[in-house]
Amino acid sequence: MSGTEALVLKRLRKVYARPAVDDLDLTIHAGELYALLGPNGAGKTTTLRMVAGLLKPDSGSISVFGVDALADPIAAKRLLAWLPDEPMLYDKLTPLEYLQFVAGLWGVDAKTAYARAEELLRWLDLWDNRNERCEGFSRGMKQKAALAGALVHEPRLLILDEPLTGLDATVARQVKDLLQARVKAGATVILTTHILEVAERLADRIGIIQTGKLRAEGTLTELRARAGDSDGTLEDVFLQLVGEPT
């Protein structure tokens, strides 16, 4: 069964001064766009960083498309891309050189990589800037270059942490369109965001995490039913479920 799931977390745990992620169980189906919501310090980023292989969990298991990410991290990493809110870029490289570098790390063959790089840069309106160094780019351009890097190796699982932070409406729209297109093409997307309207409009399912545990999960309709607020916005539902006054 786990082979058909994009991500399965079982009793995942990470403790700093207090538990950041507390025996978390989470299953994300292949081909869905899943929004992970939660208040500041709820454990969203810690969870995703463990999935991306950037943090070692204290206990529990992580399975990415059936690959045990703790036993075989290289195989798991081959399937996913991680895009944090701060773009992982090199200021002194151009976007095309950056994509060349990322494609090389993921072992994409040269012809395919170049074709994908061109397609992505054109889609994200960066083709005309392909030979300019990223150091002079605006935040939006940097975020788009980083997104292109995350997509150049066609990950089956794309993990984004606050991907829309600091972006203007035009760039945010481009990013959202690109994510939806990826999901349509069969990829799985997990994103965290504090912009609840984004989760409401894009996500197939929403998970609400608090103090390292999954408090609620489901479609918006299911969450509304659980909160007993059939007409509420996601913001109302979210605040009710995390116990904040609405």
């Binding site: 195989a75 002194k92 050189e97 090389g104 012809k111 990223c134 002079g136 605006s138």
Partner: protein, 516 residues
């Protein structure tokens, strides 16, 4: 809190804040400061005391030769301080994020520049004040109070160097624009810093071993320009304790400093604004188009290519790394001259000179490789990208190490080849030593890896003091090994054994913080 009683917004209050920021590292490491003070006191006792005793028993007359010597020392100190003030000005414009805050406050830009200029003058002075103290305090304690004038003279040099550094940086702004000033200013600072050493080595570089030039300088010195009545004698006489030259030199420096600050105050605000806009502006094209072929190559080639690109494109960083090579240039000239003169069967270069060159080359290879390895290994811009890539961390680090070795081979390779041509045995010893020294320095940087920003390159040695000390000792060890081996002495095995022991120790005590 420094100067707590100064009124907020005043020059003293702002200066307190500047100095607090400059010496934040020292304040945090209280133990380190006590160690520095301890070493200083020890040097005063061991070195300063005997020197003060000696000076107390000789008469230093104000002859042209003595005045010229003191003037040259002051000029050397000035160039070294100027190198630092120019660098600090450029860094202050581009890398200190507080200028926007200061310039958006209701304080006059001239006051902000005054404080910045004073802070720029004070920071590099501390080293020279520390060095001078080793001699001056024991001398003063022995009753030779005239040496206390070293302090006001140093302060005057600091003010002059600060005014010159700021003027130079702002002139560069006007001439070549904000973007280029960053790199050119740093390179100029490096060249100015090395200028005195290079001048001292002219003998090795000029075709006639500098005979004509030195004859000209000697003639100039004898022409009376360093007579006590000449204005050129005043800085030296100020150090020697003459009151009038002291007052004129210090007062004149302070006046010049004030004039520069007053003259450049308004322009300072606009230049700082331009510098801040450099990062936000549209970048220029690299001029090189990336084709589909450029995408070829596996992770190793990709990593090495990326590291070399980043190294070559950071002119500021590269200038700081390559500064060390300036010190090899005179030796290189000596070798090339030796090679051109060498006749079949004759040994134009003395064996001692060749062995000396071997030692320096081997040590330099380690220093270069260590700096480059720090940049490629510790100063990774996107460690998370590498950490989440499907490439083993060890493989990434090996590729980064290889990338650090390539520039060393390119830069020192030709000199090593010339050396092999001159004396195959010495050349092979130098080559083996340079390889050992480079690889060792690279490995030490791997073992003591600690994620850092490229901007902190100058302070990289504070990342791991043990690692840095071992790196220098290992470089010296390889140098000694290669030097002794090239002389055909079995004693080479002794430094080799110590070097290997140090490497084993380093690998044992190292506790790297891996960023990827």
């Amino acid at each position: 809190m420094i100067l707590p009683s100064a009124p907020p917004g005043s020059i003293l209050w702002l200066l307190g804040n500047e100095l607090r920021l400059s010496f934040r590292g020292m304040k945090r490491g209280g133990a380190r400061m006590w160690i520095v003070i301890g070493v200083l006191v020890l040097l005063m006792l061991v070195v300063g005391g005997p020197m003060a005793f000696f000076l107390g028993h000789v008469t230093i007359g104000e002859t042209p030769a003595v005045i010229m010597m003191f003037d040259l020392v002051l000029l050397a100190v000035f160039t070294l301080i100027l190198s630092q003030t120019l660098s600090a000005t450029v860094i202050g414009f581009f890398e200190r994020g507080d200028l926007d805050l200061l310039l958006s406050s209701p304080l006059p830009p001239r006051r902000i520049l005054t404080v910045r200029a004073l802070a720029i003058a004070i920071a590099p002075l501390l080293w020279f004040v520390g060095l001078a103290t080793i001699l001056v305090i024991p001398a003063a304690l022995a009753g030779q109070f005239r040496w206390l004038t070293v302090y006001p003279v140093l302060a005057a040099l600091g003010l002059l160097a600060s005014a010159a550094g700021i003027s130079l940086a702002m002139a560069l702004f006007r001439l070549i624009g904000a973007r280029r000033t960053r790199a050119v200013g740093q390179i100029m600072a490096a060249l100015i810093g090395a200028a005195f050493f290079m001048t001292g080595q002219l003998r090795n570089m000029l075709p006639d071993r500098g005979r004509q030039l030195f004859a000209g300088v000697s003639g100039w010195a004898d022409s009376g320009v360093f007579e006590p009545s000449s204005p050129l004698s005043w800085p030296a006489r100020a150090v020697l304790g003459d009151l009038v030259p002291l007052v004129v030199f210090v007062g004149g420096s302070a006046l010049l400093f004030a004039a520069v600050v007053a003259g450049l105050g308004r322009r300072f605000a606009s230049d700082a604004g331009l510098a801040a806009g450099v990062g936000a502006g549209r970048s220029r094209a690299t001029g090189r188009k990336v084709s589909a072929r450029a995408f070829e190559g596996g992770p190793d080639a990709t990593l090495i290519r990326k590291e070399l690109r980043l190294l070559l494109r950071d002119a500021t960083l590269l200038s700081q790394v390559l500064l060390r090579l300036l010190y090899v240039i005179p030796l290189g000239f000596a070798v090339i001259r030796g090679a051109s003169r060498q006749q079949p069967g004759a040994d134009a270069l003395g064996s001692a000179q060749l062995i000396g060159l071997t030692v320096v080359l081997v040590f330099m290879a380690g220093q270069l490789a260590g700096s480059l390895a720090w940049i490629t290994v510790s100063a990774e811009d996107a460690p998370e990208l590498l950490a989440c890539a499907p490439v083993d961390g060890g493989r990434v680090r090996r590729a980064k190490l290889a990338a650090a070795m390539i520039p060393v081979a390119v830069l020192l390779g030709p000199l090593l080849l010339v050396l092999i041509g001159l004396s195959p045995w010495v050349g092979v010893c130098a080559l083996a030593g340079a390889a050992g020294s480079s690889v060792s320095a690279g490995l030490i940087n791997l073992w003591f890896e600690k994620p850092a920003s490229r901007k902190t390159f100058r302070g990289r040695r504070t990342g791991s003091v043990i690692g840095s000390v071992i790196e220098v000792l290992v470089g010296m060890g390889w140098g000694a090994t290669a030097g002794l081996a090239s002389a055909g002495w079995y004693w080479a095995l002794a430094p080799l054994a110590i070097t290997v022991g140090l490497l084993v120790l380093a690998s044992t005590v190292a506790n790297p913080t891996r960023g990827y």
